[in-house]
């Protein structure tokens, strides 16, 4: 029997309904308004009234209208066909919506996430009588460049036997491909697809292991100084205009992972459009296929309904977990987690909960922590390893990191890439401030060399601060040279030109090679008669290095400039 209720209150996107029998916390309910059915989620129950956040505009709703409860928690459909797609926060495929409804997002219009009648070439792996458990691979289809494993649905009971399984061949998403039975003889059907509630982590794996291996992003300042591990977590807080999104976009292009999931959460539509339109044209270097084929975009931009923004990060991480279950390395980029936190704040305000700091709800920290905890490296039942790396941007109010979202995130992530206004104003991109950022993960560059890099940056900054007080003439030549060395290191290594075809992405080998080169240079002692001379030396070295950075690694040009740099250094160096 259908459970229903009647609207009694409307306040923004929060609707209260009286119900008769019972409701389930966090179940999906539909508000019926004329011909429209608006999706909503039950978020609080008080006596006989359920408070629901509506994932749509509530304009025109009336007291007395019917609400239908659905029995199921907010879930997403998982199966072949997700890659290359663009969804809204509730997994509606946006291109199909555009085909159906035109320029605007029509309220109450929901479409199937996956094309149900598309045929996939299925190869079974399991046999009749096999013992299987949730997450076990029973077959696969080829999705783009990956073997897309079809797994026993994660929500099934833990001890099952294969009753029958189809032969290799073409099947669509509606066809039963296997039947499983439990100890009591109850039958369960498997399809190429399955569904999973977004707010619950998928745990169908043997064990979670420690993230160790570095994730190469081809961004020098990240890989060399503040590395991220595969399966690790990191955050990028920064004031507006510091380049968070550009950094995320570059990472999504170059990071060495299998699948990238971009959760554009409450940010500008224009930025998503850029990814959307350019990814089909950019070739992924490893597979020589368009980038879009290994990317999923979850897009809930700032003008789209707020409640769906809250669910969009969960939708994204659930899809990440699904691909991880196949033994793939997934990178989830969430931009921006502050908008997600704000969505929670808006709802908390409407629920009239007692507010915490800056009106954020008291459960902000635990929600952030449990979101990042869904990252990690896991060993699956068959011994293969999959990972989810989560990188989230934060947009702190006023660019001040002492605010609740940044602080709550810093507690739980493994690396912190803090962007600073000073650096972006001086056009020092990426604007990751080396003096405040940190990482708990190991770099592929020798720790001593990295330490020297940090040291010279610190020293250089100290001298720069001192010079502000005592002036250049009061600074000793040795200090001044240290200052110049730091500036030099910053401008030719930490800074990277995102608009230069070569400099945009630096391979691991090149980073090792160049860092080593600079390391020797930073250690070297030079003979300068005056500060003027020192300044001039480093300025021309910088110019040479910039040219070097945009020369193809180990190409003719690269070798030529390298020689030029070496001879320039030889003139000034004091041999020991």
């Amino acid at each position: 029997m259908k459970r229903t209720g009647k609207i009694t209150k409307i306040n923004g996107n929060m609707v209260t309904a009286e119900f008769e029998s019972f409701v389930i916390q966090n179940e999906v309910a539909y508000v019926i308004s004329g011909s429209e059915r608006l999706k909503s989620e039950v978020i609080r129950v008080r006596a006989k009234s359920a408070q629901m956040q509506v994932f749509e505009s509530t304009t025109g709703l009336r007291v007395g209208q019917e609400v239908e409860f659905s029995d199921s928690l907010l879930s997403v459909e998982l199966g072949p066909g997700l890659l290359g797609q663009i969804f809204d926060g509730l997994e509606n495929p946006l291109p199909n919506l555009a085909k159906e409804y035109g320029f605007f997002l029509k309220r109450g219009a929901y479409l199937e996430a996956l094309a149900q009648d598309s045929l996939w070439e299925f190869t079974p792996l399991a046999k009749q009588e096999d013992n299987v458990r949730p997450g076990e691979k029973i077959g696969f289809v080829q999705e783009k460049i990956f073997k897309h494993y079809i797994m026993v649905p994660f929500g099934f009971p833990s001890h099952l036997k294969v009753k029958n399984i189809v032969k290799a061949g073409k099947y669509d998403l509606r066809q039963v491909i296997a039947q499983l039975v439990d100890a009591d003889g109850k039958t369960y059907e498997c399809f190429l697809k399955q569904s999973w509630p977004v707010k619950i982590p998928i745990k169908a794996y043997a064990e979670k292991i420690k993230p160790q291996e570095p994730l190469i992003t081809k961004m020098r300042v990240i890989d060399s100084l503040f590395p991220v591990a595969r399966g690790g977590t990191y955050c990028i807080p920064g004031p507006f205009g510091a380049g968070k999104t550009v950094l995320q976009q570059l990472t999504s292009r170059h990071a060495e992972v299998d699948v990238v999931i971009i959760a554009a959460c409450g940010e500008r539509a224009g930025e998503v459009v850029e990814t959307l339109k350019t990814f089909p044209e950019i070739k992924d270097a490893r597979a020589n296929r368009p980038l879009i084929e290994r990317t999923i975009i979850i897009c809930n931009t700032s003008s789209m309904p707020v409640a769906a923004r809250e669910s969009s990060v969960y939708t994204a991480v659930t899809m990440a977990e699904y691909y991880r279950q196949m033994g793939l390395n997934v990178l989830l980029l969430a931009d921006s987690t502050s908008r997600w936190a704000q969505a929670m704040r808006e709802m908390s305000g409407r629920l009239e909960e007692i507010p915490g700091e800056e009106a954020f709800p008291a459960y902000l920290e635990s929600r952030i922590a449990s979101f990042y905890e869904r990252a990690g490296v896991v060993r699956l039942y068959d011994g293969s390893v999959g990972s989810i790396t989560i990188g989230g941007t934060i947009s702190p109010a006023g660019g001040n990191f002492e605010e609740p979202v940044t602080q709550a995130t810093l507690k739980v992530v493994g690396a912190f890439h803090g962007l600073s206004r000073e650096r972006s104003d001086a056009r020092r991109y990426p604007a990751i401030d080396p003096l405040i950022s940190w990482s708990k993960y190991p770099s592929f560059i020798n720790a001593d060399i990295v330490a020297r890099g940090h040291e010279i940056l610190r020293k250089s900054n100290e001298v720069a601060q001192m010079m502000k007080v005592i002036g250049e003439e009061g600074t000793s030549l040795t200090d001044y040279v240290d200052y110049l060395k730091g500036e030099f290191f910053d401008s030719v290594y930490l800074q990277q030109n995102a608009f230069d075809a070569v400099d945009e992405a630096t391979s691991k080998e090149r980073q090792k090679y160049v860092f080593d080169f600079i390391y020797r240079l930073l250690k070297d002692k030079f003979s300068f008669a005056t500060k003027e001379e020192a300044l001039h030396f480093f300025q021309s070295l910088r110019q040479l290095f910039r040219g070097w950075n945009s020369a193809e690694f180990e190409g003719e040009e690269f070798k030529r400039i390298e020689k030029e740099i070496q001879s320039a250094i030889r003139e000034k160096i004091i041999s020991e």
Partner: protein
């Protein structure tokens, strides 16, 4: 026939409560008071209690006044009849023209499907080097002008409006001084643009809350034109007044404030307006230029702060010039690679050097010895301020790039600029010869 209710049970701030059944959320009602009629909008429904935000303010409303629900959300007329017309913050004519009721559209409509947008790619030339060279304005961009009160922001807005090649200009004034309104009207008139302009004017003398509708009215009208293939420029001045009106209503409704009294949904509220800026796949575009005055020149104030996170950059107007630091056009990369091959080099290098100049100025003010490098920077900075930054300068982009090379050549040697050799070879000597 709409029912009339006369049982106003509560008046608090500009929000009144009336008992009425079967009312739609966000519906519009008309309140007839002794002082005249005003529009009001449903902002909360609790059983039979309906909370209405009264746009003309609640002053003078009696508990026995008549409330008539119109049965729909706020609407505005659209189409060519609007061109050259001037309306108030509720969409009623301020000029002597007729009331329009053709092609009524609901305001605050749904969001554009991102896949129906295209990547913006057309530069809007303004003749202002600080914009064209350093922070190019792009069609369909949403860009605020951050400034403190007293800066010539409306002049800048008007100058861009008259110089930009667009089909239609929509001006939404919020808390606009009457003088400023006249200034906009006259400047567009002198420029012959009045017949393709539409004004929604809420002046500083009108009740604060009435300005809440102005952005939605302006943008709904603009959207209709854009859908019919027109390129529309929407000017909004000043969005801080809009945010303050939101704050006022929110406090009246006893919502928990998040930051300095502003509501927690300030970001979403501003975003739903700014995100109307769009370049439609197979239709026209909307470009939004908005003024955001910063109380106390504080960019971390919630209004400019939230705005900055939404918009695609900002022009920071300070001391009568567009300040290079703090100003940013996020879309400039879409266009400045296609102008001239030295555009980006000039942009990056000149700003970098100007940053060094600012540091040197600081050192100088502390009385430190100026090295010969410092002196070069001082010379450069002065020239840059006079010949590039001044808003008096009005030259096309290519001239401005040439000017950049000759400014640098007159102050530095090539390697001091840090510019790549290939670029130096192509442009440096050329500019030296030109001089």
């Amino acid at each position: 026939m709409h029912k009339i209710y006369t049982n106003i049970s509560q008046i608090s701030g500009d929000v009144i409560t009336v008992s009425a059944p079967d009312v739609g959320y966000m519906d519009i009602a008309q309140i007839t008071a002794s002082r005249g009629a005003s529009l009001a909008q449903v902002i909360r429904i609790d059983g039979e209690k309906v909370y209405l935000q009264v746009f003309a303010g609640s002053r003078g409303i009696s508990t026995g006044d008549k409330v008539r629900f119109l049965g729909h959300a706020m609407r505005v007329a659209s189409g060519d009849d609007l061109l050259g017309r001037i309306f108030n913050g509720s969409g009623e004519p301020l000029d002597k023209g007729p009331v329009l009721s053709e092609n009524m559209i609901e305001i605050g409509g749904p969001s554009v499907n991102p896949v129906k947008r295209i990547i913006p790619n057309k530069m809007i030339r303004t003749g202002i080097p600080m914009i064209d060279v350093f922070n190019s304005l792009v069609e369909s961009q949403k860009l605020p002008i951050f400034s403190i009160a007293g800066e010539p922001y409306n002049e800048l807005l008007a100058r861009i409006a008259t110089q930009a090649e667009v089909d239609i200009i929509v001006l939404g004034g919020m808390g606009l001084k009457y003088d400023d309104y006249l200034f906009f009207r006259d400047i567009l008139k002198n420029h012959g643009s009045l017949s393709r302009s539409i004004f929604f004017i809420h002046t500083a003398a009108d009740p604060t809350v009435e300005c809440l509708l102005v952005p939605d009215l302006s943008l709904a009208v603009a959207e209709q034109f854009a859908l019919s293939g027109k390129r529309v420029l929407v000017l909004l001045s000043d969005m801080t007044n809009f945010a303050d009106a939101l704050k006022e209503v929110s406090i009246t409704m006893e919502r928990v404030p998040s930051n300095r009294g502003y509501p927690g949904d300030l970001y979403s509220q501003l975003a739903s307006r700014y995100e109307k800026a769009v370049d439609f796949d197979t239709a026209g575009s909307i470009t939004i230029l908005a003024v955001t005055t910063m109380p106390g020149d504080d960019v971390t104030h919630p209004v400019p702060d939230n705005t900055g996170y939404i918009t695609e950059g900002q022009f920071y107007l300070k001391g009568g010039v567009i300040e290079p630091f703090g100003s940013l056009s996020r879309l400039k990369q879409q266009v400045n690679g296609k102008t001239r091959d030295d555009h980006r080099t000039i942009m990056d290098t000149m700003i970098g050097l100007f940053a060094n100049y600012r540091e040197t100025l600081e050192k100088q003010s502390m009385g430190f010895h100026m090295s010969s490098w410092d002196k070069k920077l001082l010379n450069y900075g002065r020239l840059f301020e006079e010949e590039m930054m001044s808003l008096k300068v009005n030259i096309p982009l290519e001239k401005a790039l040439d000017l950049g090379w000759s400014l640098m050549a007159s102050c530095f040697s090539p390697e001091e600029t840090g510019i790549k050799k290939s670029m130096i070879e192509k442009y440096w000597n050329k500019s030296a010869e030109d001089r």
